[in-house]
Symmetry: C2
Subunit: 339 residues, 2 copies
């Protein structure tokens, strides 16, 4: 197995900088579109053979150094007791948003092997087939809470912040339940064979650093400390680039960095005892190959002071991205970082 | 006239920290709603007496230390030759988005006194009536360009970045035209009597620091250098907290700071030769009065090392905000900062 990614996670020297792309299995690939045309999004997540198939596609096509399970961060929320739907226009919808004690009390703590067996089955297929490591993942508790409280995505997250600010005990009760679910879910993925885990805090950046520390970070710390030393743990607090010192307090082995910060500034802020992952603006993949190569080169240079570097985009690859440009990015990373 | 705000802009000592709220004239005020119920949004912007009336409302109700002209950043875009509409559900719509050389060439450079006379008339009414200074404003060129290229708001701004990355000369031609318009528009506002100007770069934060420096900053620098020394210039690069050193290169007297950074970290990054404005999370106004007071206190403390501090939210006040909490915030700033 190509272990460059896992070595980089541990801060060990590698022959070149490993690379993958957030959302690398997905809509920009015609091969994905073909599979997806047969089933809806949630069915794709719940069918192990198909989820495994689209997970492998970018490894073959882009030659990335690691696979990430095809799934959605909201998958474990459904068995907690919320009806989930993916609307083409509105994105995810969670019916009957959680806004009071009765609703929080009703939420179940999931048993992953029984409630979402398809995830573990997909992982078992993948670890047999892949020649690169496999990343398992979960949404971070705060991000999952925003979806559950808002009932989907949101512009200003007023309901979430109202619960935080007005009824902090209720908020903590909800977060504890979600954190238990996340820990159970990630443990089941590790038991099934994933080699590393990433915790996606997609909405951490709507919090002030002070509120992040109070209302999001402690729950991430509980997750990271549970798995630390077992498998590499990656934590990605999207839009958190102006509070990286607090993000580092998560204790994660690897920190995802979005494209809003010069990666050399991120490394300066974080120090040389943590691995960084990132951080090309996904839109650079709409530019010329020269521009992509220039962007890759800058980031490789900028990350040199870190304990280690895993190249990635600063956010998920966009559906309209030309596949050849994603390939060009991966090639540029491999070529420019090779000794 | 209460000149506390203007003194703070210049970095002079003040008896207390001046305060205002972005979007302080607007939907959270029943008094605004009453005026707005008679006319649509764009008509309100274009009717000097009504625009002046709603501009004054928050000064009377909240006791803020400065007024900001009620208008919209897209107002000068319409006479450049784009049809503008405000949809209750979708926000601003600009028809026939600008995506090629013919479209850029067709855009007019506006003559503010002829094209948007209502803005200057509102300012003239206001400077007679107000007992606090008046801020004039404009969108920053990059932010205006995103609306013109996308045809409204956007999720990923792919069309804007495509133009930047694929046809940089065309992008520069568009930006030059917009910058000329902004300079003409702000000059007309100053001639009509505004005491300070704010340049809103609401979408600067979608750019990497590298692209901000290349595709947005030079145009802001041209605007700031035009007005520097004439009236205080405030520059607000929203979601730019991880690249404040570059934002500072704008040369503005005052920098707006959003809530994603601890203001003491912002001051550490910026140094003690620039005034900061910000940065309470607008959602804190949904909390208790104790929480609001605590948030105000932290920010006042954190900003102490700066050349000066103007208290504000880190983004616009939200429509659902309880007015009494906005009043409590202003009172807390005045009380806690007074010597």
């Amino acid at each position: 197995m190509n272990d460059t990614f896992l070595k980089a996670c541990r801060g060990e020297k590698t022959d070149y900088t490993p690379v993958w792309l957030m959302r690398q299995a997905g809509r920009y690939l015609p091969e994905y579109q073909k599979v997806r045309s047969k089933v809806d999004f949630l069915t794709l997540c719940k069918t192990p053979e198909l989820a495994a198939e689209v997970t492998i596609q970018p490894v073959d096509i882009l030659k990335v150094d690691v696979a990430i399970l095809f799934s959605d961060i909201l998958v474990p929320i459904e068995p907690m007791g919320m009806k989930l739907e993916f609307s083409e226009s509105k994105g995810p919808i969670l019916y009957d948003p959680i806004r009071n004690d009765i609703a929080v009390s009703k939420l179940r703590k999931i048993k992953s092997e029984e409630d979402v067996p398809f995830v573990m089955e997909a992982i078992k297929i993948l670890v047999k087939k892949l020649n690169v490591p496999l990343i398992g993942f979960s949404g971070a508790p705060f991000t999952l809470a925003t979806y559950m409280i808002e009932g989907g995505s949101s512009k200003n997250f007023i309901n979430t912040k109202k619960m935080m600010f007005q009824t902090p005990d209720l908020y903590a009760k909800l977060m504890d339940k979600i954190t238990d679910t996340v820990i159970n879910y990630l443990q089941a993925q590790i038991d099934a064979g994933v080699h590393a885990i990433q915790v996606f805090d997609s909405w951490a950046g709507i919090l002030s650093p002070y509120d992040f520390e109070r209302y999001a970070l402690p729950y991430v710390q509980r997750i990271v400390s549970t798995f630390k030393g077992k498998v590499p743990v990656i934590y990605f607090a999207f839009n958190g680039s102006a509070m990286l010192k607090k993000v580092k307090q998560s204790g994660a082995d690897v920190l995802g960095i979005d494209w809003r910060i010069d990666i050399s500034d991120a490394v300066n802020s974080l120090g040389n005892d943590v691995v960084v992952q990132g951080n090309l603006d996904p839109c650079v993949l709409f530019g010329t190959k020269d521009l992509i190569r220039e962007g890759v080169s800058q980031i490789l240079q900028g990350a040199k002071g870190a304990k280690g570097h895993i190249f990635n985009l600063g956010h998920g690859i966009l559906p309209e991205t030309p596949v050849e440009n994603a390939i060009a990015m991966v090639e540029a990373v491999h070529e420019l970082s090779a000794k």
